[in-house]
């Protein structure tokens, strides 16, 4: 009577290749969501086991043990404790790695204590020979009371075996491997008597940490089984020692390691990559290479996307029947979608590099190298990862700060990450630089435009470090530094993992941020092409009247363009723009830029799209020019270009510093659990941006 639908949870230490196993089992049948109320990523996939049996596989966050030290790890415990949870697994698959079997088995023995059917996957088994490791699988299965699948996710070996074991999960033993309660029999006996219906190990987990579990009143339970914090720690230590004793005894017989056969590439690579001089040299060389290639490589597809959407819009305008609907498509929707898709190349490249660095194990070495330097600024070596991924997007970066154990270091990382130049700023920079910086070469080979872009990136990093330094002095939070970083063995990144990661991240950008951008584009189009009837509806008459009364000066052929401009000025958007003009005029912006800046507060990337929409609404010619050409043609009343040097620099500085991303504010609120920090960020960053932009324009104009 096999079940038709088996629920599986995939659990394992970080760096064991758990995600590779997940990818092999589910392929592209994955869904990424969030756990309710928290921003921990929830990955669920499905996998066909046999003709009529399907498995739903939940990829839980990597954890070293069931003693949680972060919200990611907490997710694992809360799920395994709650039999009523809709995702509560029928069977748990613990993924371990052959080189770190000893440490990985700690988590396995804890899960076995919860008496859930558990399968043991030993991954990277292809490295056994290289490392001189031999395993006695039947002995281990017997001792650990489980079934083992030897797997190599790299070579795609053993995945079928996992499926087979999942299918037959009902035959697995649910007996624990060892009796952990023997560390303090008296205490655990009392516990057992007080709650006869519960597993002692579950009760122990509830006592030692903050998990919500069952309907047991934790406070009541804690008070009757109270122990001092130090006593609990001592018991946890005893428990850990006890588990390792069992694991060591088991592996002594079940695992043979011939160290003479082990070729240690890791030691050799570590000697170079963590070297006090070469280490930094290599790191900066890699960083430089990444940025260089992102800008060079992604400019081709970006230009292509830019021009093809301009062509598409003009094609739609000329080939669809004229009317309101066609205008919506050619002036609202097509430029809007173009404004989203143009980000894909850069986001994809950034995530390509970040996932390669993470997968290869190199990122941990960077953490190691940078920790001491970062601590001077109140950051942690682990802040390097959020700061680098902040160049893609602040949202995953801020979530990535979660594994920083020290709260002060984590908070500062969260607060300063939005200063890092994210990919949303890039199109704004790119277009402004192209407009105001000449296409010259310095010293014959360094492009002036490229150099400007680099300076803007450095400005972002510089500002992040500067504010971290200040925050470190101001914030009075004392918390212990519990800095523990695993240095995983080096691996060649798996193409499949990298590809799926890029696909997922890009998809979530397109459908997440994309929705906002598209919606704003359509709203802007509407506001730009409609207005109060008095001026807007009579635009044709008013302009004609003006032109003919001055007929000796103005050629009547300019009437259509004049009408379009007049309409835009008196549309709803024009009215809004004009009303904020006094505030932004000192920065060198006209009302059209003002609209773009204001709509950018939803998301920076809206800037280019907004200008595109405003200018294509205000443009009456049949030729659909690219956004850049339109911006270049835009003139002030005195006949000078709107996007001159002073305005351009002022805008660049404004975008470098201002907090213009609602999604980032939302994520900061979630991660810090208070509105205080996002509000401080918004006020401080945007205020600072306004002042620097003001100063820059007034000095340069």
């Amino acid at each position: 009577m096999a079940k038709e639908h088996i629920k599986v949870a995939l659990i394992g230490n970080p760096n064991t290749g758990k995600t590779s196993v997940f990818n092999h089992l589910t392929g592209l049948h994955q869904q990424v969501g969030n756990y309710p109320g928290i921003t921990v990523e929830k990955k669920i996939g499905s996998c066909k086991l046999s003709e009529n049996t399907k498995a739903t596989i939940l990829d839980l966050p990597g954890t070293y043990s069931l003693n949680a030290s972060s919200i990611d790890e907490n997710v694992v415990i809360e799920l395994l404790m709650n039999k009523k949870d809709e995702n509560f697994p029928d069977v748990v698959v613990v993924v371990t790695e052959v080189e770190n079997l000893k440490r990985n088995l700690l988590l396995f023995t804890q899960i076995k204590d919860l008496e859930i059917p558990t399968i043991l996957v030993i991954n990277m088994s292809d490295r056994m020979k290289l490392k001189g490791i031999e395993l006695d699988v039947p002995f281990l299965e017997n001792q650990l009371k489980t079934k083992i699948a030897l797997v190599s996710s790299r070579k795609n070996i053993g995945i079928e075996k996992i499926k087979e074991l999942i299918l037959n999960y009902e035959s697995l033993s649910t007996e624990p491997c060892l009796n952990a309660s023997s560390i303090d029999p008296e205490y655990f006996d009392k516990l057992r008597k007080a709650f006869p219906n519960q597993l002692v190990y579950k009760l122990w987990l509830v006592i030692t940490q903050d998990v919500n579990f069952l309907n047991l009143d934790r406070n009541e339970m804690k008070s009757s089984f109270t122990k001092s914090h130090a006593d609990l720690r001592r018991l946890q230590q005893k428990e850990t020692i006890k588990r390792y004793q069992f694991i060591n005894d088991t592996l002594k017989v079940g695992q043979k390691i011939d160290h003479s056969k082990a070729s240690d590439i890791r030691a050799k690579l570590d000697r170079v990559l963590t070297h006090r001089i070469f280490g930094y040299f290599i790191f900066f060389f890699i960083l430089f290479g990444i940025f260089q290639s992102i800008f060079v490589w992604s400019s081709y597809p970006m230009d292509l996307i830019d021009s093809s959407f301009a062509n598409l819009a003009s094609y739609a305008k000329t080939h669809l029947p004229a009317g309101e609907f066609t205008n919506l498509i050619s002036e609202g929707i097509i430029p809007g979608i173009g404004g989203i898709l143009i980000f894909i190349p850069q986001i994809a490249f950034l995530f390509l590099f970040i996932s390669v660095l993470e997968e290869s194990g190199y990122m941990s070495r960077v953490v190691f190298l940078m920790d001491k330097i970062m601590r001077r600024y109140g950051l942690s070596g682990k802040s390097v990862v959020p700061l680098i991924s902040g160049t893609a997007c602040a949202i995953p970066a801020i979530m990535g700060a979660r594994n920083i154990e020290n709260w002060k270091e984590r908070l500062i990382t969260i607060l300063v990450t939005p200063f890092i130049t994210c990919s949303a700023r890039l199109p704004v920079y790119a277009i402004l630089i192209a407009l105001i910086i000449p296409q010259k070469k310095v010293l014959g080979f360094i492009s002036l435009q490229g150099l400007t872009l680099m300076v803007l990136y450095l400005l972002g990093f510089g500002m992040a470090f500067f504010s971290a330094f200040i925050l470190n002095k101001i914030l009075k939070i004392s918390s212990k530094s519990y800095f523990v970083v695993e240095m995983p063995s080096y691996k060649i990144p798996l193409f499949k993992n990298v590809a799926i990661n890029i696909l997922e991240k890009t998809k979530s950008f397109v459908f997440g941020a994309g929705k906002i951008i598209l919606a704003i584009s359509i709203i802007l189009w509407f506001l730009g092409s409609h207005g109060p009837d008095k001026d807007f509806g009579n635009a044709q008459k008013i302009v004609e009247h003006e032109v003919y009364s001055n007929s000796y000066r103005i050629n009547p052929s300019v009437i259509p363009n004049r009408v379009a401009e007049y309409k835009l000025e008196h549309s709803y958007i024009g009215i809004i723009g004009k009303s904020i003009e006094p505030a932004i005029k000192p920065l060198g912006y006209d009302w059209k830029i003002g609209i773009a800046v204001v709509s950018s507060f939803a998301a920076r990337e809206v800037f280019v799209g907004t200008l595109a929409t405003i200018y294509s609404v205000g443009n009456n010619s049949d030729e659909e020019a690219t956004i850049k050409q339109q911006m270049k043609q835009e003139m002030r009343e005195d006949g000078k270009p709107v996007f001159n040097f002073a305005t351009g620099i002022s805008l660049l500085l404004f975008y470098a510093f201002a907090m213009q991303c609602v999604s980032t504010l939302a994520i900061v609120k979630k991660e810090t659990n208070s509105w205080k920090w996002p509000i401080i960020q918004l006020v401080f960053m945007s205020g600072f941006a306004y002042l620097t932009a003001l100063l820059a324009y007034q000095l340069l104009k």
């Binding site: 440490r103 130090a230 720690r233 850990t240 280490g279 941990s364 190691f368 530094s481 523990v484």
Partner: protein, 78 residues
């Protein structure tokens, strides 16, 4: 002054004897940093911190102040 793992030289091995449990993160214990286990210092980052150890076959980096809480008997080098 007791010898701690912070006093090891690069490449030197020792056996952990004890540590101040209140100052050591549980995670480190779970990685196998426990009395009786052997420990080897692999690398010291520039400016003297963090330190990169192999303990109980786990490769971990910890900060100097944590390392100073873990006492050790240094293996005689020969």
């Amino acid at each position: 002054m007791q010898t701690t793992i912070a006093d090891l030289k690069i490449g030197q091995k020792g056996t952990i004897t004890e540590f101040n449990i209140d100052e050591i993160p549980l995670k480190l214990l779970e990685m196998g940093c426990l009395p009786g286990n052997s420990v080897e210092l692999i690398q010291i980052a520039p400016f003297g911190c963090p330190l990169y150890f192999v303990v109980n076959d786990s490769h971990v980096a910890i900060r100097l102040e944590t390392a100073k809480e873990i006492t050790v008997v240094i293996e005689s080098t020969n």
